[in-house]
C-alpha cells in the first residue's frame, strides 16, 4: 500500500529529509541529523511537519458538554480561544488518546488527536455522542499543520505576520492569522518543552508557510524530523501515546493526575480514576538514569530484588548528557526517588537509579 503524503512531502525531500513509514505516512525521521535538530530547537528554533495529526470539529448546542463528558480535564473552565491538554479515558480509566481541546465557543470545539489513533478516536467519540445534540466532522484530511519551536520561534514567525504574536498567550489561539499571506490558526502550544507555535492551515497554503519560515529564519532555524520530535518531548518529560500512555495505563499511573479533575462532574472513566486517586495504584511511570555503561531503550526489562518489576517505555542517550536516561512503567513500590533498580540491557544487567522525570526546565512563556 502506498504511503500517505503530507502537503510538504516535496519540501522535505528538497531539504534532504530521510523519509520513513510512520503509521502509513511518509515523513522525515531526520534531515541534518538528530543531534543537530534537537540542539537547534533548544538553542534557536526547529520546524516540524505535523500534518499527520488528526483534527475533529465538534459543533452544536452540546459541543462543550460532549467534550466535557469525554475527557478528564475541566474543559468547561476554558475561555474562548483557549486550549487545554487532556485525556479521553475508557471505562477502566485507561487512556484512549491524549489530545488538545481548542475552545472557540460553547458550541464549537476543535480537537487535535494523535495520527495513530484517528480511526479509533472518531469511532469512540461517535459512540459516546449518541445522547448529545452535536455534529461531528473529521477534518483530518483537510488540514496541514506546522510547528515552530524554540527560543527564537516567535522572533522568526513575527517576520511573516503583522499580527502581534506576543499577544497569543500560553495555550491560547488566534484564528484567521495571516502567516506569509496564508490564513492560519495559530496556537502557542507544542511538544518540545520550548516556547513555540503550532500553525494550522489548508493544504494549499502549507508549502508557502514552510518555505517562508525557513527563509526568514535563516541560520536560526532548521527543519526537524520525527527523531528529534521524540527526543525533545522525552527530554521535556512529555508522554507519548503507545509508550507512556495506552488503553491499559491510566493518567494517574502515568503521573499525569494533574490533568484529571474529578470534581468537575461525570466523565468516562471517572470511577476508576477516583478510586486510584483515593486508594492508590500499583504501577507508575518513573524516571531513571543508568549508573553503568549502555543505553536504556524502550522495551528493556526493569528488575529489582531479583524479579521483573516493569519495562522501559522510552529511553535514550540524549545530546549533551553523559548518562542514558529513561521513563519506565514499574511497580509503584520501587518508584521513590533514589530507589535502586536494574535494567536488562540486552545480555547485561546494568544498575540504575530512580530520578525525577523533570529532566529539563521547560521554557514556556506563561
Amino acid at each position: 500500500m502506498e504511503l500517505k503524503k503530507t502537503s510538504l512531502n516535496e519540501a522535505h525531500k528538497k531539504c534532504g529529509g530521510k523519509m520513513v513509514d510512520f503509521f502509513n505516512w511518509e515523513l522525515p525521521v531526520e534531515y541534518s541529523g538528530l543531534t543537530n535538530e534537537h540542539v537547534s530547537v533548544r538553542e534557536k528554533a526547529g520546524l516540524f511537519d505535523v500534518s499527520h495529526m488528526g483534527e475533529v470539529m465538534v459543533t452544536g448546542k452540546d459541543a462543550l458538554n460532549l467534550v466535557d463528558y469525554l475527557v478528564t480535564n475541566a474543559v468547561k473552565t476554558l475561555e474562548e480561544n483557549q486550549v487545554m491538554y487532556t485525556f479521553m479515558c475508557n471505562e477502566n480509566g485507561g487512556v484512549v488518546d491524549d489530545l488538545l481541546v481548542y475552545k472557540y465557543t460553547d458550541d464549537k470545539v476543535f480537537l487535535v488527536i494523535n495520527a495513530a489513533n484517528i480511526d479509533k478516536d472518531i469511532k469512540w467519540i461517535k459512540e459516546k455522542s449518541k445522547d448529545f445534540d452535536v455534529e461531528l466532522k473529521d477534518i483530518s484530511s483537510e488540514m496541514s499543520q506546522i510547528a515552530i519551536q524554540g527560543p527564537k520561534a516567535q522572533e522568526i514567525l513575527q517576520k511573516l505576520t503583522d499580527s502581534p504574536l506576543g499577544e497569543i498567550g500560553f495555550f491560547r489561539f488566534c484564528e484567521d492569522t495571516l502567516i506569509a499571506g496564508e490564513k492560519c490558526l495559530v496556537s502557542r502550544t507544542g511538544y518540545t518543552g520550548e516556547d513555540g507555535f503550532e500553525i494550522y492551515m489548508g493544504h494549499e497554503g502549507a508549502p508557502k508557510v514552510w518555505e517562508s519560515i525557513l527563509e526568514v529564519g535563516g541560520e536560526d532555524i532548521v527543519p526537524a524530523g520525527l527523531g528529534a520530535r521524540d527526543t525533545l518531548r522525552f527530554e521535556a518529560g512529555l508522554p507519548l501515546y503507545g509508550n507512556e500512555l495506552g488503553d491499559d495505563i491510566t493518567p494517574i499511573e502515568a503521573g499525569l493526575g494533574f490533568f484529571v479533575k474529578l470534581d468537575k462532574g461525570d466523565f468516562v472513566g471517572r470511577e476508576v480514576l477516583a478510586e486510584q486517586k483515593e486508594l492508590g495504584f500499583k504501577k507508575k511511570i518513573s524516571g531513571f538514569k543508568l549508573l553503568g555503561k549502555g543505553i536504556a531503550r524502550g522495551g528493556y526489562k526493569v528488575l529489582a530484588d531479583g524479579k521483573e518489576i516493569g519495562y522501559i517505555t522510552t529511553g535514550y542517550q540524549l545530546p549533551g548528557r553523559s548518562e542514558s536516561i529513561g521513563l519506565a512503567l514499574i511497580d509503584k513500590d520501587y518508584s521513590k526517588l533514589g530507589s535502586e533498580i536494574e535494567i536488562q540491557v540486552r545480555k547485561k544487567v546494568v544498575k540504575a537509579e530512580v530520578i525525577s522525570k523533570k529532566f529539563l526546565d521547560k521554557k514556556y512563556k506563561k
Binding site: 541529523g33 538528530l34 543531534t35 527523531g227 555503561k293 549502555g294 543505553i295 531503550r297 540486552r346
Partner: protein, 127 residues
C-alpha cells in the same frame, strides 16, 4: 558513498584491513550513513573468539541498537575503546580510520569470500 581501495568488504558493510596474521575491522561509509549518529559501541572482550557471522557487539545510534557481526572468524586481540568510548561519532566522521576490532585470523582462506572495493560498490548500488 566512499570506499577505500586495498581493503576487503563484507555484505554487512564492514571493511577488513589485513596486517600479516591479523586484521582490523570497521564499518563502511555506507554503514555509518545508514546508522545515523553513533552514540555508543559495545565491544567484546580481548581474548574472546568468534566464528564468522557471529554477533560480536552492538553499535548504537540515537534511534536504535544494531548488532554487529564478525565478517571472518578469529580471536579478539584489540578493541578501539580508547577512541570510541569518548568519541563514538568517529565512526561517522572517519569510518575508514576508526577501526573497531583487531582480530587474529583463524583462517586466511575466509578472506577469499569477502569482496573487493569494486564488488562492494556494486552491492551498495543494488541495495
Amino acid at each position: 558513498m566512499s570506499v577505500v581501495e586495498g581493503l576487503y568488504y563484507s555484505k554487512d558493510h564492514e571493511w577488513i584491513k589485513v596486517d600479516g596474521n591479523a586484521a582490523y575491522i570497521g564499518i563502511t561509509d555506507y554503514a555509518q550513513h545508514a546508522l545515523g549518529e553513533v552514540v555508543y559501541v559495545e565491544f567484546p572482550d580481548e581474548g574472546d573468539e568468534f566464528g564468522s557471522g557471529e554477533a560480536f557487539g552492538v553499535i548504537e545510534s540515537v534511534k536504535a541498537a544494531a548488532d554487529s557481526y564478525m565478517p571472518i572468524s578469529g580471536k579478539i586481540i584489540g578493541i578501539n575503546d580508547e577512541l570510541l568510548e569518548d568519541e563514538p561519532q568517529a565512526l561517522n566522521e572517519k569510518p575508514y580510520e576508526a577501526w573497531i576490532l583487531k582480530v587474529e585470523l583463524s583462517d586466511h582462506q575466509e578472506l577469499e569470500s569477502l569482496m573487493s572495493a569494486e564488488d562492494y560498490i556494486k552491492l551498495c548500488e543494488e541495495e
